[in-house]
Symmetry: C2
């Protein structure tokens, strides 16, 4: 998999592959899963270490503390660059679909959301994601630059509400929705929040 562990060239090859990389990534994967399923407090270092089949003290050695582990495990990239390529009237629907993709691809967003609710650092992480990744996208579709933040916030409220009810609280009617239904219902909403004239 890793091919050459690169003992020789260390200069431009990134941070020098270590023998423990397998353990590191096993811990990170287990951590993501536990944080997503249990939230911050109930995702214990001991449980994560057990999932990764490793000693809890190794988690501490590699990541310093539980906070450090969370910071290392949850680095979220929404990959929202291609929004300018869809027709302007379909931006809402495309964004809804994109978020559904991300939400179902892995558990990182669920982890962020769950942790953000009970942990201050988690909430700040989510605020940062919104500021650095959501607002800039809204900036490209939104007419009035003064309203960008507000409109992005409205979209976030709608999309995170969907995620909350569908993936976390699991309200039965929201869980039962098909992908196309979600796009058809929420697409126009997001579209309006982004582009409609201010009411």
């Amino acid at each position: 998999m890793t091919g050459t562990p690169s003992r020789s060239t260390d200069s431009a090859n990134g941070p020098a592959a270590r023998r423990s990389d397998a353990s590191r990534s096993a811990i990170l994967a287990a951590a993501r899963e536990r944080f997503a399923a249990d939230g911050y407090e109930r995702a214990t270092i001991r449980a994560i270490a057990k999932d990764a089949r490793i000693d809890p003290s190794m988690v501490m050695r590699y990541f310093g503390s539980k906070d450090g582990l969370f910071a290392a495990a949850v680095t979220l990239d929404l990959r929202m660059t291609d929004v300018s390529q869809v027709p302007p009237t379909e931006v809402g629907r495309a964004l809804v679909g994109h978020f559904l993709d991300i939400w179902e691809a892995n558990e990182e967003l669920t982890a962020v959301l769950r942790v953000a609710v009970t942990n201050k650092a988690g909430a700040e992480r989510l605020q940062g994601i919104f500021r650095d990744q959501v607002v800039p996208v809204a900036q490209r579709v939104c007419p009035d630059p003064e309203q960008v933040a507000t409109r992005a916030g409205l979209c976030a409220a709608q999309l995170m509400g969907l995620a909350l009810t569908r993936y976390v609280v699991r309200l039965p009617p929201v869980v039962a929705l098909a992908r196309e239904e979600i796009e058809a219902w929420l697409g126009p909403t997001v579209q309006r929040y982004l582009t409609a004239p201010s009411p």
Copy 2:
């Protein structure tokens, strides 16, 4: 069992006033506050008891366990009966306003939301509130009886998303919104989810 410590009339006077009622309600108030601010795990019995200026063991005596305390502290009544009195075209806006009222009147809804994210019993409590109090209201405004649950779920997603971003995660642009702005933006959304033809 309980005997009759009541001084005078015990027949139709409810559950017989006790000498400890002041302590009981102090505990319940502190519990609501802590659950809303910290979520289930971090809202410790010891902290709640300290807020209520009482010994932790009394909390156990009165409410049996931490689960029992949560069940007793968070009994949520959305008071959603008067929806039939507003003009049918204004139902969405009225509902948004009503929820803002409830959310800002006390901290119970925030408590339910925060606990529902990390605690299974909390999630079931929220599902019950949705089933028993939200869906029936939608039933009265919604044309097609087969779609009532779906449409109620969509409204819940939008409204809980607002609450999540405004009162829990505190995204700055959402916190900054004025009440009229929220009603103007979300009202039409909720209205559409409830009454517009299925897309």
